[in-house]
């Protein structure tokens, strides 16, 4: 009998890479169509202004220009304003958000006119000639000034800049606080971040006027959701739309949206009857693509004298920006269940108020609400440790939720599977914690220029965004299922059609591993099709670390159905009962009669010829499965950051970074490591480098990579990675998700490390990003205070 090669868990190389690394990928920007015209957007240079008039004459007469449209010109094209799919409360304020502004602009970058030209260069040149008569108005850019008395209002029709307030309570919080020996209250800010996918956004639309249908190539993470929402926004029957996400160069949530440029190119293709194309510039993307984070947080912990937490209160203000994009209001609430982290307690209260400002809208950015929540609880637990005189490792141990299944968190959710202490113990061992503390003490005693800090983050996160019913109860506008079709072709290869839409995650590789094992075919013989609504009609796409735990499991289950059918057909051809067959390595063998066997490829061929099928069986060897899991998954882990702080300059260097993650069963270790590397890098970026800044008038000061500091590989430490494995019970593969864990875990580990490194000076606070000057100033203040 053939011994099965197992691919899941093994170190196969990514199938995608040869194509991408040799420049043979196909990206939206490289699509050219006959007769294609190029679109560029004139954008507001003001944070807030009334549009008194737009003179498009000079632009229209510029070389190569075919047409110029204002928001008024396009008003008749829309069946609906840009969609917002998560009305989190009954009384949420939802301003109309037209793709091209009509009478007012509300942030720098708001589109005011569209130029269509023969080349992209001509379109961009003519944008300079669009003459807008603006009446500049006062702008509000930050949460606090937007909520101050007499603040300028972003939307005149609302009597304040508050968008909604959402609350969630579990247990008797006041009682928990009343009996506490210790209460700590901490305030944190989450700087605004600008997502930086390596590929800027782009869209190409091909109309077939005679048929009334459209093909849209978009740099999107969500072709299926986009198809529905493009249809509703442009008033095109959904069945007339085909959306294709070809190779997409990263998203991090920034391509999980329905953008003005995409739908404008769609309606222009309809109006002009020719293919249209728009490609963002990097700085254009900085204002015209969603931003992330931007919160003010207050967190309170009530504990007994030993530091055991009884209750939690978290109250946050979240900057929405000027409009609500696809899931702007819901994004901070994804963190609403994580302010208790991996810890126990009796009660929890959370409230979040969304606030409009004259800035680019915020939305889901890698981690989406969970990095913010994790930052707050992981810093607060350190503060609690300080308050009761307990080491950061010990205070965590004292508060961990117990090991188990369906463990009730004070946040109100049941966590699939937990084993936090084993994970922390393993990290502490790998770290050599005691030796590090000794070195820290030695450096302090010596008054070394470079002091050592050790910071922990024992995160838990909530991903595999899924159970449709739960999402429905939160008023989220879509389901949480995902779909797969698996078929074995007559010549023996397996085609896997997936509803997830990879843009760097390596689904083609991982899904090939899953299918190869389940079907007993070779890894090379699995072909994965995705990202085209005509090829893969069903899907809920890729975000929220959901792909493996939902869509990957759908592939696994669909393969199971294929094998069941194959077993019936094999039994028919071998003239035995299905139960009499063993299936191993792609071969059905009659139990006890090893010479009587047939391969799954032979079965597929027989199913295709259909010459002799059992009674009632349809031809073909194919199965479709839609998986809607019963619960989220809750990956967890311990991240430890060791920093060296230059006490003279304030510069922080990461000396070591250790991550012990638990994402359940692992399909591809290399891909998991890669996700952790990138995720941690993004968290380090937030902790030490990146911060979008607006001037008071609404100008984005960090408008390019020159002053928005995306760190490079040179700034990153060598990542020390390991894992514990606690399989999930939310799906039959026992998998969790790892796409965002690194980002969720890392920022607090870094900042806790900086605070720890300065704690001998009495420092307890540090704001992100911990820039050299901020750290230096903190040291100066602390020394001044001590003297």
């Amino acid at each position: 009998m053939a011994t099965a090669e197992r691919y899941v868990g093994g170190g196969v190389l990514r199938k995608e890479d040869p194509t991408l690394l040799t420049g043979q990928g196909s990206f939206v920007e490289s699509i050219t169509l006959p007769g294609m015209v190029h679109v560029a957007f004139a954008r507001s240079p003001y944070g807030a202004a009334r549009i008194n008039g737009i003179d498009t004459g000079a632009a229209a007469n510029a070389p190569g220009v075919l047409a110029v449209f204002t928001g008024e010109d396009l008003a008749g094209e829309w069946a609906a304003a840009l969609p917002m799919a998560w009305p989190v409360t009954e009384d949420i304020r939802i301003p109309d958000h037209w793709p091209v502004a009509r009478d007012a602009v509300r942030y720098v970058g708001d589109a005011v006119a569209v130029v269509v030209a023969e080349t992209r260069e001509q379109a961009i040149d003519a944008v300079d000639l669009v003459d807008v008569d603006y009446e500049v108005l006062p702008a509000v850019v930050d949460i606090e000034s937007a909520r101050a008395d007499g603040a300028a209002r972003v939307h005149e029709q609302f009597d304040s800049n508050d968008c909604y307030t959402w609350t969630h309570t579990n247990g008797d919080v006041d009682a928990a606080f009343a009996k506490a020996d210790v209460v700590i209250k901490e305030h944190y800010t989450q700087p605004r971040l600008i997502p930086n996918a390596i590929e800027p956004r782009a869209v190409v639309v091909q109309p077939t006027p005679a048929a009334g249908d459209f093909t849209v190539w978009s740099t999107t993470q969500i072709p299926h959701i986009a198809k529905v929402l493009f249809a509703l926004t442009a008033g095109i029957p959904e069945a007339k739309l085909r959306v294709i996400a070809p190779d997409v160069g990263g998203g991090f949530g920034s391509k999980l949206n329905i953008y003005a440029e995409d739908v404008t190119c769609l309606v222009l293709a309809r109006r002009l009857g020719v293919p249209t194309r728009w490609v963002a510039g990097r700085s254009e993307g900085y204002v015209a693509t969603i931003h992330g984070r931007d919160q003010i947080q207050e967190i309170e912990l009530a504990a007994d004298s030993a530091g055991k937490i009884l209750g939690y209160r978290a109250s946050i203000l979240a900057n929405m920006g000027a409009y609500l994009q696809l899931i702007t209001p819901g994004t901070p609430l994804l963190g609403g269940f994580l302010f208790c982290g991996s810890y126990g307690g009796e009660a929890y209260h959370f409230e979040c108020t969304g606030v409009f400002t004259n800035t680019t809208p915020t939305d889901a950015y890698r981690g989406a609400g969970r990095p913010e929540a994790t930052y707050a609880i992981e810093r607060a637990i350190d503060a609690l440790g300080r308050a009761v005189g307990v080491d950061p490792v010990e205070i965590r141990r004292r508060n961990f939720l117990p090991k188990g299944e369906m463990v009730e968190s004070p946040c109100g959710l049941a966590f699939d599977t937990t084993d936090y202490e084993t994970n922390l113990d393993h990290a502490v061992d790998l770290l050599g914690y005691e030796a590090l503390r000794a070195e820290q003490a030695e450096r302090r005693a010596r008054g070394a220029t470079r002091q050592l800090g050790i910071g922990f983050s024992t995160y838990v996160e909530m991903c595999g965004l899924a159970p449709s019913q739960v999402l429905g109860s939160l008023n989220y506008g879509a389901g949480g299922w995902d779909a797969a079709t698996v078929r074995i072709l007559p010549t023996g290869q397996a085609e896997v059609v997936t509803g997830s839409s990879p843009h760097g995650q390596g689904h083609v590789t991982s899904w090939s591993q899953i299918a190869a094992d389940a079907l007993g075919v070779s890894f090379e013989d699995v072909i994965v099709l995705h990202g085209d609504t005509q090829v893969a009609p069903h899907g809920m796409n890729t975000y929220g670390s959901r792909s493996l735990a939902v869509a990957g499991v759908a592939v696994h289950n669909a393969c199971g159905h294929v094998v069941e059918k194959a077993r019936r057909l094999a039994a028919h051809s071998l003239e035995v009962a299905p139960e009499d067959l063993e299936f191993e390595g792609g071969t059905f063998t009659v139990k006890g009669v090893p010479e009587r066997q047939t391969s799954i490829q032979e079965v597929a061929y027989a199913a295709w010829t259909a010459h002799s099928l059992p009674e009632g069986e349809e031809p073909g060897l194919t199965a479709h499965h839609v998986f809607d899991p019963p619960n989220f998954t809750f990956p967890f882990g311990t991240h430890v950051c060791v920093t060296e702080i230059d006490m003279e300059t304030g510069q922080v260097e990461i000396a070591r970074y250790l991550a012990v993650d638990d994402c359940g069963n692992v399909v591809n270790p290399q891909i998991v490591d890669g996700q952790v590397h990138g995720g941690v890098a993004q968290g380090i970026a937030a902790a030490l480098y990146e911060e979008a800044r607006y001037a008071e008038d609404g100008t984005l000061e960090t408008s390019s990579m020159l002053n928005y500091l995306v760190p490079s590989a040179a700034e990153m430490p060598v990542f020390e990675l390991d894992r514990t494995v606690t399989p999930s019970n939310s799906n039959p593969m026992g998998v969790k998700g790892i796409g965002e864990a690194g980002t969720i875990a890392s920022a607090p580990a870094v900042i806790n490390s900086v605070v720890d490194g300065l704690s001998h000076l009495g420092v307890t606070e540090m704001t992100m990003p911990a820039t050299p000057e901020r750290v230096w100033q903190t040291i100066q203040n602390a020394k001044g205070g001590a003297a």
């Binding site: 992209r120 260069e121 961009i124 040149d125 300079d128 510039g281 990097r282 700085s283 254009e284 003279e648 300059t649 510069q651 480098y689 800044r693 000061e701 390019s704 020159l706 002053n707 500091l709 760190p711 490079s712 040179a714 700034e715 820039t771 050299p772 000057e773 230096w776 100033q777």
Partner: protein, 281 residues
């Protein structure tokens, strides 16, 4: 982004370039490595009507020395300078400075002439050249002249170069002093928030000569003259620190989103102390 429309000409000689520049008028610009000019054009902060590309003038790419001085052709790249054995021996300050510019791509494209002509106060090489008392050789339609580094830099992005003039070479005296460039930035490939070029001669463990250049501490590269004077004769760490603190003598540096004036001044004194310390140990 895409630059505003412009004309492009490739010069075949310095004389040809001068002629093209004269024809092009005041909105013509020379293009060397393009690593300062093109980013500005892409952001449409610079909108030259004509680019005269001198990148192909290989006779402006050289390093040649006669013992007392070294001459470097204006089109010599940062990488070629960092990699030059001859320069490493004669002017180590220059090679270590060039090695700290940007990233490898930048160093392979950017030229010393472009860096000097651009006169960005945040650039590294101008500071080192100022500390070394370099001279800049300039060709104009009417003939050539040479300007001392101390007279060349006039303000942010402003220099003694006139319209249509070409910087052809840089002459650096060979002093035998040790050179260290200390650069403070947040990302490896970034411009200096503060940079310090130290050219230190020693005699029997004490400092016999000191030239200290400062990057991004004013509108032009600066010399920290008070520090230089105090360093001579010094050998101990405390004395070096005291001398370094005299950097405040230059007055208040600019403050911006990268660093406040106070912090910049503090950084400069730390970097001077460390740079001089590097030489003494």
């Amino acid at each position: 982004m895409i630059p505003a429309p412009f004309e492009y000409e490739r010069a075949t000689s310095v004389a040809h370039a001068l002629e093209l520049m004269a024809q092009g008028g005041e909105d013509a610009r020379l293009l060397a490595g393009g690593h300062s000019l093109l980013p500005l054009m892409r952001l449409r902060l610079a909108r030259p009507t004509l680019l005269v590309d001198i990148g192909g003038l290989d006779d402006l790419k050289y390093v040649s020395g006669n013992g007392d001085a070294i001459e470097i052709g204006a089109l010599t790249t940062h990488h070629e300078i960092a990699d030059s054995h001859e320069l490493g021996e004669a002017c180590p300050l220059l090679t270590t400075t060039a090695a700290q510019i940007g990233d490898p791509q930048v160093r392979h494209r950017g030229t010393i002439g472009g860096s000097v002509a651009h006169a960005d106060p945040a650039s590294d090489l101008p500071t080192a050249l100022l500390a070394m008392d370099a001279e800049f050789v300039i060709e104009a339609v009417g003939g050539s002249r040479s300007v001392a580094a101390a007279d060349f830099f006039e303000g942010p992005f402003m220099s003694a170069l006139g319209d249509g003039e070409i910087l052809t070479s840089i002459r650096v005296p060979v002093s035998g002093a040790s050179g260290v460039y200390r650069k403070f930035n947040r990302r490896a490939q970034d411009w200096a928030i503060v940079g310090v070029a130290a050219l230190i001669g020693t005699d029997g463990g004490a400092i016999s000569s000191a030239a200290i250049g400062l990057t991004n501490m004013g509108g032009t590269p600066l010399r920290a003259e008070a520090v230089e004077a105090s360093l001579v004769g010094v050998s101990g760490a405390d004395e070096v620190a005291a001398a370094a603190a005299q950097v405040a003598d230059i007055g208040m540096p600019p403050g911006d989103e990268q660093a406040s004036a106070e912090y910049r001044l503090h950084l400069a004194s730390v970097l001077i102390r460390r740079a001089v310390g590097d030489v003494l140990t």
